[in-house]
């Protein structure tokens, strides 16, 4: 039966690596259905960030295919990212320090033409991250690390992407702001955007996610409902660390 694409984002049998070094991804397949949050979990060096880079076109895979909403985008570079309906928030800091906060945010809207839509989006992101509005005309480089992270989020939300790729969204954020970001992830999902998430704070991320994929040695080792992964004692010991949540009785 001909129908809408089953997955908003689909990475199939991906092999990818950097330069002449060994492959990082070795036949990886990840599916992100509409309206879902998929979380990649795994040790440092498992290839989680590489998955996001392949999805957004920053790294061309050696083999395999990438589909967004049923359309093959394999081989498209990062310049096509926004038009392909993808937004990618990188690990670490990627604001332009010598540009103002406002200019940084507006870069996320360069595919938008309608001034009214742009204005609405500006109000939306300022409302979500008050610091963005308060510091709109200041140089982004003068903001603290955590504040810069919020500018990056605002930038990624200027277009309404089909899929948002988030690399370590909570890194450098204080607990209050971290909670806001996870709330926003849920809100995006409920509005139909799919989210592919990499997060070291795996326990917190899996509590938000619908599906979890455990990466090891460049492949998806185990995947399933996030709640089941959370409840799995072996996985918890290996990848989640910290204390299990209250609901682990039995």
């Amino acid at each position: 039966m001909e129908s809408e694409a089953k997955n908003l984002l689909e990475l199939r049998d991906i092999e990818a690596g950097y330069g002449r070094a060994a492959l990082v991804l070795r036949g990886l397949t990840v599916e992100v259905p509409p309206g879902s949050v998929v979380c990649l979990v795994g040790p440092n060096g498992a290839g989680k960030s590489t998955v996001l880079k392949v999805a957004s076109g920053m790294l061309k895979p050696r083999s395999g295919s990438i589909h967004v909403d049923g359309r093959d985008i394999t081989g498209d570079g990062p310049q096509s990212m926004l038009r392909n309906g993808l937004a990618h928030v990188l690990q670490g800091h990627s604001v332009f320090r010598e540009m103002t906060v406002g200019e940084n945010v507006m870069l996320g809207a360069f595919t938008l033409k309608d001034q009214k839509v742009i204005q609405e989006r500006v109000e939306f992101v300022q409302n979500l991250f008050p610091i963005v509005g308060e510091r709109w005309k200041q140089l982004a480089g003068l903001l603290s690390g955590g504040q810069q992270k919020q500018v990056e989020f605002a930038r990624s939300l200027m277009v309404s992407p089909k899929v948002v790729l988030l690399d370590e969204p909570s890194m450098g954020l204080d607990p209050k702001t971290t909670e806001k970001v996870f709330e926003q992830v849920v809100r995006m999902r409920d509005a139909g955007t799919a989210v592919l998430l990499v997060e070291q704070n795996a326990r917190r991320a899996l509590e938000t996610a619908d599906i979890g994929c455990v990466l090891d040695l460049g492949r998806v080792h185990i995947s399933g409902p996030a709640s089941e992964l959370l409840a799995d004692p072996t996985l918890a010991a290996l990848y989640l660390g910290g204390k299990p949540s209250v609901a682990d009785a039995g």
Partner: protein, 254 residues
């Protein structure tokens, strides 16, 4: 009159600041901060994004100059001294986004981190078997000795953080300042870093740690200072801090 304390032979003052202020283009990042950290303890410095924690670190380590106020370390004034001179007084630090030399090997990164007063000595240290052995020792301790010959840029982010920490330790500092050691690091590695901090503290090193991972702060720190808007609003043991209404409101969210 204060009764003499018997519990510790030296209650040396570690790092402290008096009325330290630093502004950037109209934004006062650190605002008359008077803070005193405990020698021989694991000190935590927490606070919301933009409360001035990293600027505080940068001012006391000489990376930027405070506009006014004083920085003292073990009774000695170090305000506005250059970063290398401050490092030589025994303060080592890491950075929020870790800094390693991407195209040098792990071992090379450590050999340039040694605390030597001259470049000539520095270059010689690269061929010094004792230095090599010392570097290997720290690599073993942070758990990345198997990566000795790898180029730093091929390490994962968490491994680079461990490398940076080993680099700080190569300078044999007495006081170690860590800016978000758990940021971007997987839970298993966080555990390893926490264990290492605890061991080094038992060996006599003082720590000052900026961190948002509350589980780590609360389990690791003896003394916590809470920043908001460029100055301390509360300090005390983790238990006391966690119940302070000002901290709940400004930082943890209610």
């Amino acid at each position: 009159m204060n009764a003499p304390t018997a519990q510790s032979p030296t209650t040396l003052e570690s790092l402290s600041t008096v009325e330290m202020t630093k502004s950037f283009g109209g934004v006062t990042a650190v605002d008359g901060a008077t803070v005193s950290f405990r020698e021989g303890k694991v000190n935590g410095l927490i606070g919301p994004n933009g409360s001035g924690k990293t600027t505080f670190f940068n001012c006391v380590t000489g990376m930027i100059k405070p506009d006014s106020g004083e920085v003292r370390y073990r009774g000695q004034e170090i305000t506005r001294k250059s970063p290398d001179r401050i490092a030589r007084t025994g303060i080592g630090r890491s950075f929020q986004l870790c800094r390693v030399f991407p195209r040098m090997t792990v071992m090379e990164n450590l050999l340039v981190a040694v605390r030597s007063p001259s470049i000539r000595r520095q270059l010689r240290s690269a061929h010094d078997p004792e230095e090599l052995e010392r570097a290997r020792g720290w690599l073993r301790r942070v758990g990345i000795d198997h990566l000795e010959h790898a180029e730093a840029r091929n390490l994962s982010y968490g491994q680079q953080k461990l490398l940076e920490l080993a680099g700080v330790l190569m300078g044999e500092p007495d006081t170690i300042m860590l800016d978000e050691p758990a940021g971007g690091v997987n839970p298993a590695l966080i555990g390893r870093i926490a264990t290492l901090v605890r061991e080094l503290n038992e060996e006599g090193k003082t720590f000052i740690i900026v961190e948002h991972n509350m589980e780590m702060v609360m389990s690791l720190c003896d003394h916590v200072v809470v920043f908001d808007r460029g100055r301390p609003i509360a300090e005390g043991t983790p238990e006391i801090i966690q119940q302070d209404p000002r901290v709940l409101e400004a930082y943890l969210g209610v």
